[in-house]
Symmetry: C2
Subunit: 298 residues, 2 copies
């Protein structure tokens, strides 16, 4: 047993089913906006964040269903950030997951609006009827605050701002880590925290899993930057070498690919060490996921 790829595919399908239903009964008067939102949301993401939320709910003895609205809300936020990131004024990307980017299909105005609406809808998902899945109002509100923090000024959007300012600038290790911590790790850490909290974890467990999330979030970003140098465009569904072209601040740019690979594995090991206090029976997917994040080829 303990097969990660079965676990991933089962939980990915669970997230996928949930995400397909989110807008099913909504937005009839707003078909173009809805289409733009769904185009990016249902474009075959790995569903890494919802899976992490579910795995953390299970790691503290809860069930995946309790984490689902929160993990999927974070997937909406992640999707919004990709749409805005790809805009001509930002990274100006034409391809994402092997398909034309949102603004290439729906135009810039609707790409801006689709991102805006996904961010709003994420908070609706978290706030509506948490009791139906056995999550108290207090816990749901706490998760809302955590996710909003992880997304906003001192979170992902703050990190994107630093990332833009670092293009073609002299960036040291401290700044690089600040960027990664906010641009990527903050929201992944919110996913693990949210799952643990929704699954009934106590304060210490939730903070430990938030720390696990932060560490694999950092590992994830380093691995991503390595793939941008060494990956195959057909595996990644987007162009490679774009970071270098844009003068992006990355680990490989600062330290080279080999040292970066070592750094990624070290972060994964530190994440796994955080899991010591959790039952191996319940937390084995998190162990394996930490490795998976740095070993993936897409």
């Amino acid at each position: 047993m303990h097969n990660l790829s079965d676990y991933l595919s089962q939980h990915q399908q669970q997230a996928e089913r949930y995400l397909r239903k989110v807008f099913e009964e909504r937005g009839h008067h707003f078909s173009k906006l809805k289409e733009a939102m769904i185009y990016s949301l249902l474009s075959g993401g790995k569903r890494f964040r919802p899976i992490l939320s579910m795995a953390c709910a299970e790691a503290v003895g809860g069930v995946a269903d309790q984490a689902l609205p929160f993990g999927c809300a974070i997937e909406l936020i992640h999707t919004f950030s990709l749409i805005h990131d790809d805009l001509p004024a930002m990274d100006n990307d034409d391809l994402r997951r092997g398909k034309p980017t949102n603004h290439k299909v729906f135009g810039e105005a609707h790409a801006v609006l689709a991102g805006d609406a996904l961010l709003s809808e994420a908070f609706l998902l978290m706030a509506r009827q948490p009791k139906e899945i056995g999550v108290s109002n207090e816990i749901a509100l706490d998760i809302v605050a955590r996710v909003a923090t992880a997304a906003g000024l001192e979170g992902m959007v703050g990190g994107q701002s630093l990332d833009l300012l670092a293009e073609n600038a002299d960036v040291n290790l401290a700044m690089l880590e600040l960027i990664h911590l906010h641009k990527t790790a903050a929201l992944i850490s919110a996913s693990t925290y949210a799952g643990a909290r929704a699954g009934g974890g106590d304060a210490l467990q939730c903070e430990k899993l938030a720390e696990y999330g932060r560490l694999i979030g950092l590992a994830f970003q380093v691995a991503d930057d390595i793939l941008n140098v060494t990956g195959k465009p057909e595996d990644l569904g987007k162009a490679i070498g774009s970071d270098k072209q844009r003068g992006k601040a990355t680990y490989p740019a600062l330290f080279g690919v080999e040292a970066s690979r070592k750094k990624a594995f070290e972060l994964a090991d530190r994440a796994i060490a955080v899991l010591n206090d959790f039952s191996e029976d319940l937390s084995w997917p998190l162990h394996k996921l930490a490795r998976f994040v740095v070993e993936r080829d897409r």
Copy 2:
């Protein structure tokens, strides 16, 4: 007594003080993003939405302080929508409240990010520690869901999408009302609902004040469109005639200025009629505000 202009200036100052503090202790590592957010947030708005929230809290026997975080959160959302609306890909405006628009000062990328961060931070404001102002977690979460709905796919952003699609198109009255209802009235209605709910109003009171908000929201938009034809640029802080130039769907464009003025007053009267069940002593500012919305010259 019962002087509206004193009431407005006192409550506006209360909102202004709160808004000035929101980011005071935050975002030290993210100075450019923070500056862009504050540039638009503290640029002399009328604070109409927070004032409405406070007035509704008072109308149900609560206090203004209970409504303040929610009303100000909605002001953050309003500000985000103005920043994104002004972007070159959207309305492409150079001036807002007499100052260069956000992207003119900070560049398009940071204008996108400043809007994104303001939207996230709005939810943080609503979710963090409602109990400190005597608002339960249940009520705060209910307000979060209401505001998220009013902002998202079936709310303001949905309305903006329809508004863009209606440019230079044949628009009938039903579509025009659908646009106004979502683009403008939804968030104003969320302001009045949030204030009433935070102030301890019962379900019926909250829905009535939501309806009041919807009606003055519609009146507000009609009045705005009239001002875009007849107003003075120096009063408005932005160009006039821009709606016509862009082929925007507006009341004056469909029915002329006189019929539009009549419509605005009619909406204000209907809003005032909703207040019948509220104590005159507590709800007089809402009575006067309904008139003020349609009589203002900026």
